[in-house]
């Protein structure tokens, strides 16, 4: 019995030593609507990397090529206290900065287990959407998918009340936080309100928007008739006119 205990202590010491790297990587399964007219949600994997204060939330690179909407969110990187959002509108890479948002969280009754971690439930209203999240106190990182943050534990599941956006952790591991100097090279800067405005414009008439921004009308012509996609409206994650 004693030997068993000694072994157990030794094993736990091993675990201890291996876990010294504070960098954490969480892969989220994400289901979301890109446009309101979309019959079925798009599915992708996003990875969150946390190292100290710095976080990055990026679409899985294998899927990026095919996903027009793949976006990245960086917090405290490259500047402290600032959140950088990077995405594309059509083919144009675009980014904006804002202060890291502060969320008003309300704890709710109910718990769940996600990825083997016991989770607590909380809710917040943020820019026109109500988010329900499950976070774990066993992972004391105040971070989460997309822009969500500020809870005492890591958010392992988040969904908005309309069901337009769902993130569920599917992999938690020790990871490296990779910095790429080229991350923000040749990326047009904009602001959040302009980004939303441009996104709405783009979905209304993608080829018109392309022509306006690049001078090339990216459209298909058949027998002298231009095939125009149906105007659509983006399914926005945040609405600036609402709190």
């Amino acid at each position: 019995m004693r030997l068993y205990l000694v072994l157990l202590v030794m094993l736990s010491r091993v675990g201890f030593c291996q876990a010294q790297n504070k960098a954490l990587q969480v892969d989220y399964y994400a289901a979301f609507r890109e446009v309101e007219e979309q019959p079925m949600p798009t599915i992708a994997t996003y990875s969150l990397s946390v190292s100290g204060d710095t976080t990055s939330f990026k679409i899985n690179t294998n899927e990026e090529l095919l996903n027009s909407v793949g976006y990245s969110v960086f917090k405290n990187y490259p500047k402290k206290g600032i959140l950088v959002f990077k995405s594309r509108i059509g083919v144009n890479p675009i980014m904006y900065e804002e202060k890291i948002p502060i969320f008003e969280w309300k704890n709710l009754d109910g718990d769940s287990t996600i990825c083997g971690y016991s989770c607590q439930k909380a809710e917040t209203k943020f820019r026109g959407r109500t988010w329900k999240v499950w976070y774990s106190l066993d992972l004391p990182y105040s971070e989460g998918p997309w822009k969500l943050s500020g809870l005492p534990g890591l958010i392992l599941k988040a969904e908005d009340s309309k069901g337009d956006f769902v993130f569920v952790a599917q992999k938690i591991c020790k990871g490296k936080f990779c910095y790429s100097k080229k991350e923000f090279v040749d990326v047009a800067k904009t602001t959040l309100p302009n980004y939303i405005k441009d996104l709405i414009e783009y979905e209304k008439d993608p080829s018109g928007y392309m022509e306006m921004t690049t001078g090339v009308r990216g459209s298909v012509w058949i027998g002298g008739v231009e095939l125009k996609p149906t105007p659509q409206s983006p399914c926005l994650m945040e609405y600036l006119d609402e709190k």
Partner: protein, 840 residues
């Protein structure tokens, strides 16, 4: 003792009341050296350990937190990455030191990788998210169900799980369509379902739950919130044509309406097509039909798939009402009309006829089907009582005719196999403290008046009346932990009366069968082991005209199921059976079953008996990972009736003789599959080998014969990119027949490959199918289809082009127990169909 309890109660009460009011707490957090710690999470927890509220320390390490009004608070907790968590009783904190010193501790990360979006396991239920399973080309919920590991949906739509047919198909927990579940599974849009739950080992009768083990699983569809409480449906219109002569207009129409409410659920539909889509199974149900199917059948039947030239109309309505908390009633009415034509050539060679004479037929047949079915059921399924009554009525007015060339001679075929049947099933279960009392009684009556034109121009009239009444009482009780004893007592009655008339023959024959039985049984049911032992002891009395036979019969059986861990399952069972020769085997009258086939029985009440052993091992992980199974079964049957066959003027006649034979059949098979998370890859490999030894009469001598079959298959599906996926399937079959020194072997391959390209709302699918054989038993054949559609939330527009290469016939050879045949079947020509579907 009382005093201590009182003090404790007072203390707890005061602590509780103290915790109820809103109260502010503040303090200071530092590390062991007294350095203030910023951004430390300070949590107030209730007695369950749930967070009531939280705050963070400021840059000076100070915090202030207020417990919300009316919330119970039992602990205050301090949490910071890289430091050991501290939990302090709130009372202790309020009275004690307000400076918290946190010790450094490396945070251990438990590395995990799961795929929670695909499935969730809760007890015996595995819930699969539709979102996680579905590929973009999946339209109905059946397409999604077929992707669940362990589930097989056969061509007719019947669903099985781990090799056993499902026993219930629920929609939001309601048994709304009974066994006609294809009505829902083949018509409900997958968009409307949130998840599919597999309820393993499901006992549908509440009062038997925990008292009688069930091996079968049930499925439950969990609908999305927006689908309930209003009518939802689909409307489709399609029109097209054959692109090869003769020109032909093709069309289809569909209107399906469904309502899923709390008190009432309904499905109603009208469907029509002449594009060879199978609809029969959607309304006919999968449960065993009580009525005898008779000896006559339509020529060809309803044509479906590549071979069918049909024109079908279907109407079905099903209403489910919840009457009380546990009671419900269901009414279903269905009607099916069809006119199908078949064109085909066949050469049949009989093994049991001297010189292997062949029957050559060239057939141009038209068959008309008109089936009506009504079903009403009432059930009370409560924990204290179960009552169910089901009434089913069937009507079939079929007829078919054909201009046929039989061995070069022109003949005309006509058959009218009419059917009327009615059945009622009653079940009552009353649980007792230690077990249950179950009564099941079924009654069925069928009348099958049939007419058949014979090869010589005469007409056969064949009217069969049959009535059966089966009643069984089961008493089961538990006599020790995990042990149940049961006793079945029952009476089965069967009466048959057949009138046959053709040429100069006119006769009526009667058959009576009565069975009284007592079956003691013993069951052991612990969560990982289910074992049962039983023996049916019966008194069987039969009478065919003047021939009487009465005897005692014993049928022992034993079964064993072991689930060492939830992913493994081992089943094995043995059963001895006694089968009285059925009416058709006994009946000495020569009865024509088609214009050129007749058979007659011994006139004596013979029987056969058999022993069957089977064992199977399953391994199944619910989501991604491995799954596999191995099965073996051995069956032997003694005293089988032997027939002597003759071919006269192209008419194949079988007469039973006074000799019997023994047959042995064995099957060994298995499969292995793997699903990968990466690119949603699924691979599976299966192989089955079966062989049977039996006797046939050849040149008046009992000749030992053997049939062997090997079926192997491989399938591979993958989604390399979000917008592209494919499905590949290949099979290889060998069949071998050995008899009287002659060996015939046929080998054939089948391959199918489907590509789906789904950019945005568009979908393009291409498929190719190929059949070939190294020995010419299957002439090389290639078919290809293509479809393009544009889908939005409200509608879908599509164009389908089938048989792009215009392959016009399939030529193949096949083997059966008594012979071999060469067939040429005409295929539907190249055709195009444009359709529009609205989601209502």
């Amino acid at each position: 003792m009382k005093r201590e309890t009182a003090i404790l109660a007072f203390f707890t009460a005061s602590l509780f009341s103290f915790a109820q009011g809103a109260k502010p707490y503040s303090g200071h957090v530092t590390d062991v050296n007294g350095k203030p710690l910023a951004k430390v999470s300070v949590l107030l927890l209730n007695s369950k350990g749930n967070v009531v509220t939280f705050a963070k320390t400021d840059s000076q390490g100070n915090f202030s937190i207020t417990s919300p009004e009316g919330k119970e608070v039992s602990k205050i907790s301090f949490l910071n990455l890289g430091y050991a968590r501290q939990n302090i009783e709130i009372g202790k904190f309020a009275k004690g030191d307000k400076t918290i010193k946190m010790e450094e501790k490396v945070q251990e990360i438990r590395e995990v990788e799961v795929k929670p979006e695909v499935f969730k396991i809760k007890g015996d239920t595995i819930a699969y998210s539709v979102l996680g399973l579905r590929e973009k080309q999946d339209r109905t919920i059946e397409d999604v169900i077929a992707r669940i590991p362990g589930i097989r949906v056969d061509v007719s739509g019947q669903i099985s799980y781990k090799g056993k047919n499902i026993n219930k198909f629920y929609v939001d927990g309601k048994d709304m369509v009974g066994d006609s579940y294809a009505m829902v599974s083949k018509n409900l849009n997958a968009d409307k379902v949130d998840s599919v739950e597999v309820l393993q080992n499901h006992q549908p009768i509440k009062s038997l739950q925990g008292k009688q083990f069930s091996e079968a699983a049930a499925l439950n569809l969990v609908l999305k919130d927006g689908v309930k409480l209003h009518w939802t449906g689909t409307a489709e219109l399609g029109s097209g044509m054959f692109l090869q002569s003769p020109w032909h207009w093709t069309h289809k129409a569909r209107l399906v309406e469904m309502y899923f409410g709390n008190k009432m659920s309904a499905v109603s539909m009208y469907k029509h097509n002449n594009v060879a889509e199978d609809m029969e199974r959607e309304v006919m149900g999968f449960a065993m039909d009580y009525s005898d199917q008779g000896q006559l059948s339509n020529i060809g039947g309803i044509g479906t798939g590549r071979y069918g030239f049909n024109n079908s109309h279907l109407f079905a309505t099903n209403w489910y009402f919840k009457i009380g908390e546990n009671s419900s009633t269901r009414l279903q009415l269905t009607g099916l009309w069809d006119k199908s034509t078949t064109h085909g050539y066949s050469e049949r060679t009989y093994l049991d006829i001297d010189n292997g004479a062949a029957v050559v037929e060239n057939r141009n047949a038209s068959s008309y089907t008109s089936h009506w079915k009504g079903e009403w059921s009432y059930s009370l399924n409560a924990a204290k009582m179960y009552f169910r009554n089901e009434l089913v009525g069937n009507l079939a007015f079929d007829h078919s005719h054909s201009s046929t060339t039989l061995n070069g001679k022109n003949t005309y075929e006509r058959v009218l196999p009419r059917k009327r049947s009615f059945s009622d099933a009653l079940e009552i279960n009353l649980p007792s403290k230690d077990g249950f009392n179950f009564v099941r009684s079924t009654f069925s009556y069928s009348y099958l008046p049939g007419r058949l034109l014979l090869y010589n121009g005469a007409e056969e009239q064949l009217n069969l009346k049959s009535a059966t009444w089966n009643t069984k009482y089961t008493r089961s009780f538990s006599f020790a932990k995990y042990y149940y004893a049961s006793l079945d007592a029952g009476y089965n009655m069967e009466r048959k009366n057949e009138f046959v008339s053709y040429n100069d023959t006119t006769a009526t024959v009667f058959y009576h069968e009565d069975k009284v039985y007592l079956s003691p049984g013993l069951q052991y049911n612990k969560h990982d082991i289910q074992a049962s032992l039983g023996c049916d002891m019966m008194w069987l009395s039969r009478k065919f005209d003047t021939d009487k036979d009465s005897r005692w019969v014993m049928e022992p059986n034993v079964s064993f199921t072991w689930k060492p861990i939830s992913f493994w399952e081992w089943r094995t069972d043995y059963r001895h059976t006694f089968s009285p020769s059925g009416f058709y085997e006994v009946n000495p009258l020569r009865v024509y079953t088609s214009y050129n086939m007749a058979s007659s029985g011994t006139g004596a009440n013979n029987h056969s008996s058999g022993d069957n052993v089977s064992t199977s091992l399953y391994y199944q992980t619910p989501g991604f990972g491995w799954n596999g199974n191995i099965q073996y079964s051995y069956g032997t049957s003694h005293y089988n009736t032997l027939y002597e066959s003759k071919l006269v003027d192209g008419v194949y006649t079988r007469n039973s003789i006074d000799e019997s034979s023994r047959s042995v059949s064995q099957v060994i098979g298995g499969g292995i599959g793997r699903s990968f998370r990466s690119m949603r890859t699924r691979l599976s490999l299966s192989c089955n080998y079966s062989w049977s030894n039996y006797d046939i009469m050849y040149q008046g001598v009992k000749t030992r014969s053997k049939m062997q079959g090997l079926n192997s298959g491989f399938s591979w599906s993958m989604r390399p990119w979000k917008i592209f996926n494919f499905e590949e399937r290949s099979t290889f079959n060998i069949s071998k027949q050995s008899s009287a020194g002659r060996n015939t072997v046929y080998r054939s391959f089948y391959h199918s490959l489907k590509f789906f390209l789904n950019p945005g709302s568009w979908q393009l699918s291409m498929s190719g199918e190929c059949r070939h054989s190294p020995d010419g038993s299957e002439k090389f054949n290639f078919y290809s289809d293509a479809a393009l559609s544009y889908k939005t939330q409200k509608y879908e527009l599509g164009v389908t082009c089938k048989n792009l290469l215009g392959t016009n016939k399939r030529e193949y050879r096949s083997l059966s127990v008594t012979g071999s045949s060469y067939s040429v079947t005409e295929l539907r020509p190249r055709e195009i169909l444009a359709s529009i579907i609205f989601n209502l």
